[in-house]
Symmetry: C2
């Protein structure tokens, strides 16, 4: 069960760099990793699962600071901090949900703009077809309007 992976192997498995793995350990996101007799890191499967969960938090934008706080709870009160940890995760979930909502809202405006460009593009083809060289009127202001 204990496969005792090297840092390089873990880097490949988690898509983090060896630098980042050491960095995470240095700033206490990861508890001190076991060592071989010569002092090289040897990661257990538990370590890897923890790192994988950390990356879920990171990829949803949780700041290192908060992850440190969470990691501290896990390490210092593994069996008595479920409530606090859950609260942290719930707060984070809420902020991610908002983040997704905002992305979707802003994406809608961009979609609208794409549609608008498609129309202008079609129109400019028409103009080209009818060989009329008059310069287009829209979007010619220096800072063009998003509404144009």
């Amino acid at each position: 069960m204990e496969q005792e992976l090297t840092i390089q192997q873990v880097a490949e498995a988690t898509s983090l760099s060896v630098h980042t793995l050491r960095y995470y350990e240095r700033c206490n996101l990861i508890a001190p990793i076991g060592r071989s007799p010569s002092g090289h890191r040897r990661y257990s499967s538990n370590d890897i699962r923890w790192i994988e969960f950390l990356t879920k938090l990171r990829l949803t934008g949780m700041p290192i600071r908060q992850m440190q706080q969470y990691a501290l709870l896990v390490r210092q009160a593994p069996d008595t901090s479920f409530h606090e940890r859950r609260q942290m995760l719930e707060a984070h979930r809420e902020s991610v949900a908002q983040q997704i909502q905002q992305l979707q809202d802003n994406l809608a405006v961009i979609d609208w703009k794409i549609q608008h460009y498609a129309e202008l593009e079609a129109k400019s083809h028409e103009l080209f077809q009818s060989a009329a060289g008059q310069s287009a009127a829209s979007e010619s202001a220096v800072n063009q309007s998003a509404a144009s």
Copy 2:
């Protein structure tokens, strides 16, 4: 129609700081803004619409570099770069869609964990009720498992 707002008013209207507004102009995201006789910036409603669109791009994570490229197209070829601009926005839309998907996937794992904690929390209450002081077995490894 031309309300000619001051930088402060635009900052309030767009939720950007005056510093950021000058910064955006400095790095050519915004074309040089008109000035009052004394040299103070005076923003037109067109400027504001452009800034609002810029912030949509920013809030969906478009890097400044790309926004600069986009702004350049708008300024240097307002009537002939629809296709290029559309392509940029479509590529961006795709990357935002992926970003949202990734957020949702990772959020699912976090949700799962929240659920798990809720159960552990309930269980620890039970234990407390039955006055049994045996220390819990799960999550007691130094780097606890995400699967626990």
